[in-house]
């Protein structure tokens, strides 16, 4: 097995299948945006790999309109538009986040309460500062709040959970953005096209890097 697959295993290792299913069976969803979801079958062990899939095709999306708005605002603070590429929300990151936290798998089920509680914390923090939900705040206040939780090693002790949420949310935003065509373009990825020959590293570049 190669390194990429080992890493994937490591991520999945904590989530053994039987525990996962037992855990899902024992849910009691409280209210409109349950922090845990009822059991859903997922896409199965033999899904169609050839046809492109739409979000919501395998399990229902569950975020409320307000949560999706917040999801978009926050993802744009993390990945704003610049001269290279559009912002996260412009490439549908909120859909990705919704699909993620609604998915019936252990990693995503573990992330769901962190994301939902993080959203609630952001709104509470906005209310505390200016009496508004996070999405309705001015950019400067939004940034000030993010600054206080963006680095888990420097966050105040009472903000540790919020900082943990922010780190996760940054990862999910990046996952969504760099999985998209705009994200690939932003990084200058030019592969995934058939070639008749493979030339390896360009000689001029090797010379510049003093590797020849």
């Amino acid at each position: 097995m190669d390194r990429r697959t080992t890493v994937k295993w490591m991520l999945a290792a904590s989530a053994a299948w039987p525990a996962w299913r037992a855990g899902l069976a024992a849910q009691t969803p409280p209210g409109a945006a349950p922090s845990q979801l009822p059991a859903a079958p997922g896409y199965g062990t033999d899904p169609d790999l050839v046809t492109p899939h739409k979000r919501g095709e395998f399990w229902p999306l569950t975020l409320s309109a307000a949560q999706r708005r917040l999801a978009a605002v926050l993802s744009d603070l993390i990945i704003p538009a610049d001269e290279h590429s559009p912002s996260a929300s412009a490439v549908g990151v909120a859909d990705f986040i919704d699909e993620w936290v609604s998915a019936p798998y252990p990693t995503q089920q573990g992330d769901r309460p962190i994301v939902l509680q993080g959203f609630a914390w952001l709104d509470a923090e906005g209310a505390r500062r200016l009496g508004k939900g996070f999405a309705a705040l001015d950019a400067a206040t939004q940034t000030a709040i993010c600054d206080s939780i963006c680095d888990a090693t420097r966050a105040a002790p009472e903000r540790r959970d919020a900082a943990r949420f922010f780190a996760l949310y940054r990862d999910l935003t990046a996952a969504a953005f760099y999985s998209s065509p705009a994200g690939r373009k932003d990084l200058g990825y030019i592969g995934n096209v058939p070639l008749t020959s493979f030339d390896g590293a360009p000689p001029e570049l090797l010379k510049r890097l003093k590797l020849t």
Partner: protein, 600 residues
Amino acid sequence: MPFVTAKTRQRAYDVIVVGSGAAGGQTAYTLCMEGARVLMLEAGRRYTPAAETPMFQTPDMAPLGGANTPQKPFGFYDATVDGGWEVPGEPYVRTTEDHAGRFDWWRARMLGGRTNHWGRISLRNGPYDFKPKSRDGLGFDWPIGYEDVAPYYDKVELLIGVYGSNEGLENTPNSPPGCLLPPPKPIVSDYLIARSARRLGIPVIPGHRAVLTQALDHRSNPQRLHPGNAKAQEILAADMRSRAPCLWATPCGRGCSIRANYQSTTVHLPPALATGNLDIATDAMVYEVALGADGRADGVNFVDRTTGTHEHASARVVVLAASACESARILLNSKSPHFPDGLANSSGKVGRYIMDTVGSDVTGQVPLLESLPPLNEDGADGHQFYMPWWLYQEQLAGKLGFARGYHVEFSGGKRMPGPDTGKGLEWLTGGNYGAKFKQDVRRYYGSFVYFSGRGEMIPNERSYCEIDPGGVKDKWGIPVLRFHWQWSEHERRQAAHMQRTFGDIIEAMGGKPKKIETDGAKAIAPGGLIIHEVGGAIMGANPKASVTNGWCQTWDVPNLFITDGAVFPSNADKNPTLTIMAIAWRAADHILERLRRKEL
């Protein structure tokens, strides 16, 4: 009638082959091309790479960006069907969940088995690797040597297509002229890694992978492979012409619809089917070898997964090639008054000496590779170069504190971004976000290097499988395996050595390792994780201490053979599959000869 059912299959065959992966595919190929009538029984479903492979699909087309889930543990687009660390309805049991003693068992339920998504790394064992006990007193020698297997390595390379080079390094054999295809050209990180490792005295040479960097020689290879057999030559030449060379794009783990890499389904089975000598029944879950009154195998019993009915198929010879542990399971479940502990188990060694590969990985980040211009570095999907084990003499002199070696697989470059891109960058970015974060992701993209040590484990008495004493059964009512696992100090020290070595290489590159774990017990990946499990029915020279002879023939039942990794008495650092195919070909040649002589 190549794909058969309970109704359409014939009454009798020369040989039944159980399993359709590397071992079953190679066994059936060799037998059919040389005229034997074969029934292949495969537990998984029929699988058609030309229609089912997601070649150019991108992460945005997959749920969750294609991220791994328990249903697709290596990501949505990985070729595995109905498998992974768990197979629905087919549990297994382990004695502990602890890192140190757990064993994870990766399976697939599809035609072609795990060859549809394996890494395609195809290294020959060297002469030392067949005689490890003679060298250092540990483990077991094989009853055969490199010189016995070498002609079959040649054949497998000529058939499946393996790129690589001949470097003449110790215990790292050369291939004869014409066997290897040219290796792919290096990418930027390959140059830097090679320079840095060589400064530390570590060789860096082209890897060997079963990928067609150019078309196979359809004129000469069929003649070399099937001398004097015009029909086989013609079939194989036509088949080789229809395999396209690599497109230098698309991940091999998804499978390859143009047949540019080795999968049993794209390389072994098409020509074998073209002979008309191969019948394949998929959804056929074999649970025991049926024993005749004469003490010979008279066929196998299986469950038809589509109907749930129990069926019997007969043949003059039975070959188990269901993967190492599954073949051991079938033997252990084949109980009879004559063999109360399982078939071919008079030695008590069935299920014993399960080995995996020692694995330990390190990630590094390298400033010199930051912010490079756009580059297409897809190449042949990685592992274009590697480091063979280089400390044979130091080790033999007892200077290392562990007995066996490892090789290093590494990768880098601007691979297709996906759900892991930009993840966990805090160790480099200090947790920034916004415009700066976006710049940083661009800056660091392509600047990471990944090193994986892959080392030899010595067989031990505490790593084995048995029929679960708790009575767990799968959904077909077939008793399942329970795994026991333990590493020795040799493996733990080897893993720690890997970590230190990778740290040194990354530092020599001017880079920064993410984490170096010098406690071997923590550095070593759990058993089974590297998915190179072998052993469980080892070959040997002594019927009391082994299950088969050097021809993969069980000592107890003359017409019963095992051609998968179960027969390995040692597990060299070299990935096992090329050797599985070589010994399967050799065993099949032997079966053909004995069939011709009417000895089977």
